[in-house]
Amino acid sequence: MSWLLGENDRDRDTVESSSLNRTRAQETEGCVMIVEDEADARDAMVELIAGEGFSAVGAVHGQEALDMLKSGTRPALILLDLKMPVMDGWGFCEALAADERLASIPVAILTASAIYDSLPHRRNGAGLFTKPVDFQRLLALVRRFCG
């Protein structure tokens, strides 16, 4: 129980550090961009990838990710959630494909939904991960693009 509490405490800390991370990422060249609206999920992923020694940056939704890309952030890989407010994964993929400078960035889709027939048209598809994600496979992918 105390372990669980400790976990929770850490979790709260991560939320705070995550925002710090993001601010940092705006200046630096991030290796992996994580587009995910749910804070806990986003932060857990950012920490996981950071823990492996890669730089990671989070975006709350597609629009924020697009804004960050347009303002110079160049990730080697984008991990994209599909269901998000403001701009969802489908919209983001279309916007990405429409921009010549960004269209070449590989995108891996992370989805909790198993409804495959409505997947966005993927350019430079880096794979499809169903949540809960097989993180060994995911980390292998990250290593491939960022290593």
Binding site: W3, E38, D40, A41, A44, L110, Y116, P132, V133
Partner: protein, 709 residues
Amino acid sequence: MKRRSLLKRLLARPAGRYAQVPVLIGAAFALRLALTPWLGTRGGLILCYPAVLAAAWIGGVGPGVFAVGTSLLGFVLLLRPRGPFTVNSPEEWFGVGLYTITAIAIAVAGGAGRRARNAISQEMERTRDILDQMSVGFVVVDRDYRFVFLNAAALAQTGKRYEDVIGRDARLMFGEAREAMAAIGGVLDRGEAREYELHYAPTGRWSLQRAFPVREGAAVFVMDITDRKRADAEVRQSRAQLTRTLEAGRMGHWSWNVETGDVAWSENLEAIHGVPSGAFGGTFDSFLALVHPDDRAGIQERIAVALREGSHYEIEYRVQRPDGRIEWVAGRGEVELRDGKPVRMSGLASNVTDLKRSEGERRLLAAIVSSSEDAIVSKALDGTITSWNRAAERMFGYTADEAVGQSIRLIMPPEKQDDFLGILEQIRRGERVEHYETLRRTRDGRIIEVALTVSPVHDETGRIVGASKIARDITASKAEERERQRTRDMYLGILGHDLRNPLNTIVASLYTLEKQVPEEARKVLPRMARSTQRMSRMIEQLLDFTRARLGDGITLNPSPGDLRDISHAVVEEIEAQHPQRIRFQADSVPGRFDSDRLAQAVANLVGNALQHGSPASSVDVRVTSRNGSGRLEVSNRGTPIPESVRATIFEPFRRAEGRRDSGGLGLGLYIANEIVRAHGGTIRLESADDLTTFAIELPTAGVPSPAQK
């Protein structure tokens, strides 16, 4: 009959009566002259006596006296001067004088005789004339059966001429009239009078005859009754015809004499009332006794009204048959008035039980239709509404009066005005339209959802003349269904997304933790990870199950692929966790598949084999290609699957007995089966000794139709 000779006719005239005289006298003189050798020359007038008598007998007194004069003149002027007769002496003249007186006396007497004879003959003529005038035939025969007399009517009856009959033996001429001959025989032998009817075959006529004795022998009155007989036959025939007609119509005739109370029934009326033939009492009360007690008062009242008003009477009543059956009888009649008073009622009655019964059935059906919760509407082939039940009134808001006769377009929504044309086309072909869901418009403009069942309506000859439609308002149930669908989608959403996201966060965090927690706490983490994966698998399976069972089935997203590559990827992935346990051997099987789904099915089978197979043996995965289809086998050795389990092994939530810790929900095989079925393939369990094989057969041509089960 009135046949007289020319002579007789001549003599009937005055001139004729006198003209005979010179002939007679001449003849008398000629004969006397011829007899002279024997009679001598005296008595020359002797033969004039009979001549005078004859002239008087034939012509009367006048011609008689004329004959006397003629004979005297002839004798004196012709015979005396020329001889041989001489009249010279006074005695001789005295002789002539005596002759004169005697001959006049003879002439007078002869004339009287003639008069008497004529009187009798005229009397007879008159009688004969009278008899001839009679329409009744009259015949007299003598004791030898010879015809003595027949009047005109009798002759007409025989069809023969008078001359051919008179004096002839009746037995020889009319032997066929046996009754008549027998009766005449009776009259002649015993003096008995007899009356009888006779049909005389040769003429085909009927007569009523009466034979009685007369002085000559026997007389017979003959009355022609042919017409009466014919009329009688016609009456009998038309009566029989009436009876037959009544029987054919299962009707009986009745007649009630109001004054005497007598009731006359035709025979079949007794049958109609269930009374044995001849057993009906013949009175109004005996009729009433046959009527069901509850209907008696009604009958009496109707009759009273009919009698009072002299009006038509019509009633239906029940009859309790001896066997207990209740039958319905309909009676109708008219009152016959005399001087404004009812004297007789008569009419017809018939058994209407069948009619009543079918009327009852019709009423029952009508009641069912009327009380139905579903709208029942019938229409002609041109779409004209022909009936409209109460539920239709409630459902669409139009009353039957408003709807019947209108086009069915009345309840068609504006955008579906011609919706019914297609349905009617189907009906014309004799087809039924079942559970057709569509929209209709009510009177107040609401659009309601209805489920229709439309059937053709046939007439007696089997021709399709219209359609009957049963409509159920499914607006409410449709809304319910939509609500259910929404709940299900929400449930699927929770399973598919909302549960998996936090799980993902936990797993990601576990990975992060692994690097940070102290060594001694680190063994906890894989346990947590395994449990999380298990939970994730269960969610996956529940989601698949829910979609397969409650949703629209497993949705496929097929693309070109190879069954070998798909299964190879699965085997590689699993082998990482179970080294050395899987043997893989595959031919290329290109086709259109949903790779992710098929991989899931293969993974389920392989996982199943690893879990249930003997740990010491390996699991074999073999992919082979056969014309047009691919076959994938997953086999393991170990305890065979019990016979009792095999039949239901592909059903959901089946788990091997006593293996609750297997880590799944018992949906693996079910989902594998659903995925294979969605691909148009089959999955089979083959069990031999300790070898258990699951075999998938897949068509390579492609999924039957995209995004379908």
